[in-house]
Symmetry: C2
Subunit: 201 residues, 2 copies
């Protein structure tokens, strides 16, 4: 067997990979992690169950791989200049109906597939949270946030506000409305877009 | 037919009601709203499907009735003296493993049974949120919260923080740890247990 003998199979294999991962993400958003099965993914992706199982030992690993494929592994860390830019980039994600459904599905999986929620958190959380912490630290140092702000609590509080937005605001909310929501939350913790406005409520 | 003729059936009927509602709540917590079926509820409660359907036209109404039965309809509005007491009563609920699972199941149902999440919000939200708003307004007026605090945003932010706690903290967290978490969040929005400490970070 030379490498030429195997070559023709590789693009097809890559196609099957992509179809399986895209279908898994689709089904996660449509039906949720618990209701999604390897059988369904195989059927809709047009491959056999064996083809899926050869690549992914179980549903959780398949769904984690689907998230990684969609969002990059590791996902590119966005360059965030300041809090305003962070609010804008966050609002773009949170106002996207597909992302909203995916995020709620990830939350909904905490009970039955905790590894999936954990993987999502690791995938997005670790590096991005560090980038966000850095933005907030700079904002604090330049007087846009109070000197005594607790960066960890602030991150929890903003992530929580996003869960609350996903739970209570309509999926038709615009990025601008979502930015306003996030800025309202930030204002409560003493964020001032311009430090000279520091005394205004 | 006199009322005496029907009387013997009524305790049994009430027993069936209670069994159905308790089982529905159990299954909601165990398996989630999507995975729970009227069939399962009937089987585990030891009644026929027809008995369930005679009382509840569909699964969503059954699950809503189960929440109402468990939490009162309308649920008693707790007397909350101040923010400290609110934090304590909130922490008691949020640190209870069964409540944690139920709350995550309610969040997890937003996508497939939005009426259930809505009913839960109405059941707990409306009157309780007003009671909470009153507590925060008094805290603001007595200098425990900043004069410019936005009560609506504060409620969103605290509810969000609870979703974040349910998503990221272990179910073994104690009420005391949960109180600390809530107080940390409140401190970021300028809450001071004693107004004379107002200048400390």
């Amino acid at each position: 067997m030379t490498s030429e003998d195997r070559a023709p199979g590789r693009p097809r294999s890559r196609e099957a990979d992509a179809a399986i991962l895209e279908t898994a993400l689709e089904l996660l958003i449509e039906s949720g992690a618990t209701a999604t099965s390897i059988e369904q993914v195989a059927r809709r992706a047009g491959v056999t169950r064996a083809t899926v199982y050869r690549r992914f030992p179980d549903k959780t690993r398949l769904l984690i791989a689907a998230l990684e494929a969609a969002y990059g592994d590791p996902p590119p860390i966005p360059e965030i200049a300041d809090v305003e830019q962070l609010v804008k980039s966050w609002a773009t994600v949170v106002a996207d109906p597909r992302q909203r459904r995916l995020l709620r599905r990830v939350y909904g999986a905490i009970e039955d597939l905790p590894e999936l929620a954990k993987a999502y958190q690791d995938l997005f959380g670790k590096d991005r949270d560090q980038a966000r912490r850095d933005v907030f630290a700079r904002a604090r140092d330049s007087g846009h946030l109070p000197a005594g702000v607790d960066l960890e609590v602030l991150l929890d509080l903003l992530t929580g506000a996003i869960w609350q937005h996903l739970a209570t605001r309509p999926d038709t909310c615009t990025p601008a409305e979502t930015e306003d929501f996030l800025r309202d939350v930030l204002r409560q913790v003493g964020y001032r877009p311009r430090p000279e406005e520091g005394t205004a409520p």
